[in-house]
Amino acid sequence: MKIHQIAIFMENKPGHLMGICRTLAGAGVSITTLSLADTQQYGILRLITESWEKARAVLDKAGYVVNITEVLAVEVVDKPGGLLQVLEIIGGGDINIEYMYAFTFRHGEKAVMVFRFNDPDKAIALLSNAGVKVLDGVTLFNGMN
């Protein structure tokens, strides 16, 4: 149920993001979605790609500091209150969201969001019980095509 997120340490310097994208493009890795968290000094680039193992290998080789984290891709009803519904389920289980961001595509009639919870297994159980779909990698990337 979990998908792999690649995080890359970035310095807040011109050209740094370009270097990462060039490395991935050179290896034919397509970025499905990404988010960038930044501080004054550095940033954390988080991205989702179908070929995460390949992405990790080429980034490692290029000298980037890379971290693989398991995150959940959660279907969210694309209408007012959709995200609220998910948050209420999670909030009820005393689970904390460390960060989240969205996919640019829809899965059927639903939007899909990436969540990093402090307790992913508990989140999967709660969401599934409440009828909210947590997508695995295969379903997720098939839905794209």
């Binding site: 997120q5 995080a7 340490f9 501080t39 550095y42 954390i44 500091v65 971290n67 460390e98």
Partner: protein, 439 residues
């Protein structure tokens, strides 16, 4: 910059300061022989002094062994002590962690001499009996606070042991007690001056200031004197030798008179260990002549300075030592605290088994030093969670502060972005001199 004429009345505290040079030399030889005998109680010296007979002239000093900071560290905790345990009157120590700290034991007589030596430079810098002195130096293992404290009491002046830090409290004492004299690091004096100015506090009583424990310049002195309205003098010392009291300025302020009746001084080329010509820059090497608790022979201070043997108009005969302009090792003095780059490495090893690459930059954007440590990220340290990254940075700041005793800025940078040097790593960039030029 030499004073044309002293602006304060010169009071010589101890007539020994004016001993004629030939008598001083005789005294030094006599005391050196006795110091060598005392040092033979220390295994390190017993071994190295085996073939050293009586010293007949100061030229014979060449035959004596050197002592380094590392030797003292290797002698942890008290291998260099030359007195019995029940003769210890005090133990001080130099900054550092357990492994790097060095303890310095003092006998009763050492404590007595120390007070006298500090009184000498306090008196020559304008301190008089009954004055009120705020001592804003750290008390504790650090020698600064206590040394000055005893000197002040020896003169018959009164001490306010404000100790280091807590600017609000320091300001309250200055404002409400209005001391006559101030003791602190020059950087801290400027910092206080800025706050005083901002708060509109004036200190009409303040007359003299004694600033040491970190390098400063004539420009800084001019600013301190102007902003605090006092007469400022410099003094020098190091805990391994005694603490403050090795040398201090007279009112002519053209170098710090070394108390040569207690310390034998040499100025050597740090590479060849041969004496440099009078007035030329070299490493200051000190031998204690009277110290009982922990005598040191030819201690390599690593401080680069120069010695001026010309007679001084003040009448003191002790050779004058110039400002310390650098180090012959990689030690840094940051806000008065001695810091070695290896301590940063030690802190980083607490975070990760193999220390990441790092560099240290020291600047002086205002009155106080700012040290920034840049650390290259390694895979095991990186997390996708910002919370954890902030925690990592805080842990590094904490580790550095607990090892060095001072807070440094920590910046996380991408791998392979810090400059690499072949051979000896050059991890330190000191921009303080440049920053001062700008001010």
């Amino acid at each position: 910059m030499a004073e044309k004429k002293p602006r304060i009345e010169d009071r010589i505290f101890d007539l020994d300061e004016c001993m004629p040079r030939d008598r001083l030399t005789e005294l030094q030889i006599d005391r050196l022989n006795r110091a060598i005998e005392r040092a033979r109680h220390v295994p390190f010296y017993a071994d190295r002094l085996k073939n050293v007979g009586e010293i007949k002239s100061l030229d014979d000093v060449k035959r004596l062994p050197f002592t380094t900071k590392q030797d003292l560290r290797d002698g942890y905790p008290l291998d260099f002590m030359a007195i019995r345990r029940d003769e210890i009157a005090r133990i001080h120590g130099s900054s550092g962690t357990t492994g790097q700290m060095t303890f310095v034991p003092y006998s009763r007589r050492d404590m007595d001499n120390w007070g006298n030596l500090c009184a000498r430079f306090l008196s020559s810098g304008g301190l008089k009996p009954k004055m009120l002195v705020q001592v804003s130096f750290g008390y504790g293992l650090f020698t600064g606070g206590f040394g000055l404290h005893y000197g002040i009491e020896r003169i018959g002046a009164a001490v306010i042991p404000a100790a280091a830090g807590n600017s609000e409290r320091q300001l309250a004492i200055l404002r409400d007690i209005q001391p006559d004299a101030l003791v602190c690091t020059p950087g801290y004096a400027l910092n206080l001056a800025e706050i005083l100015q901002a708060e509109g506090i004036t200190l009409p009583h303040l007359k003299v200031g004694f600033f040491g424990a970190e390098p400063w310049t004539d420009e800084m002195r001019a600013r301190i004197e102007d902003e605090l309205g006092l007469f400022a003098t410099d003094n020098y010392g190091l805990s391994e030798v005694i603490g403050p009291g090795v040398s201090g300025e007279c009112p002519w302020r053209h170098g710090m008179h070394i108390n040569e009746d207690h310390f034998l001084v040499e100025c050597l080329d740090p590479e060849t260990l041969e004496p440099v010509k009078p007035g030329e820059k070299g490493e200051i090497v000190l031998t204690t002549l009277t110290k009982e608790g922990m005598p040191v022979i030819r201690y390599r201070t690593r401080d680069i300075s120069n010695l001026n043997p010309e007679p001084c108009p003040c009448g003191r005969t002790g050779v004058r030592m110039g400002r310390v302009t650098g180090r012959s090792d990689d030690m840094l003095v940051i806000r008065g605290v001695n810091v070695y780059p290896t301590q940063i490495e030690e802190a980083l090893l607490r975070i990760r088994e193999a220390a990441p690459h790092y560099e240290i930059e020291v600047t002086r954007p205002g009155a106080l030093d700012v040290a920034t440590v840049r650390v290259e990220m390694l895979p095991g340290m990186f997390s996708a969670s910002m919370k954890e990254m902030v925690a990592l940075r805080d842990r590094i700041v904490q580790a550095i502060s607990s090892i060095t005793g001072i807070r440094m800025e920590v910046e996380l940078v991408a791998p392979q972005t810090l400059q690499r040097f072949l051979g000896k790593a050059r991890r330190v960039t000191d921009r303080r001199a440049k920053d001062e030029d700008k001010q």
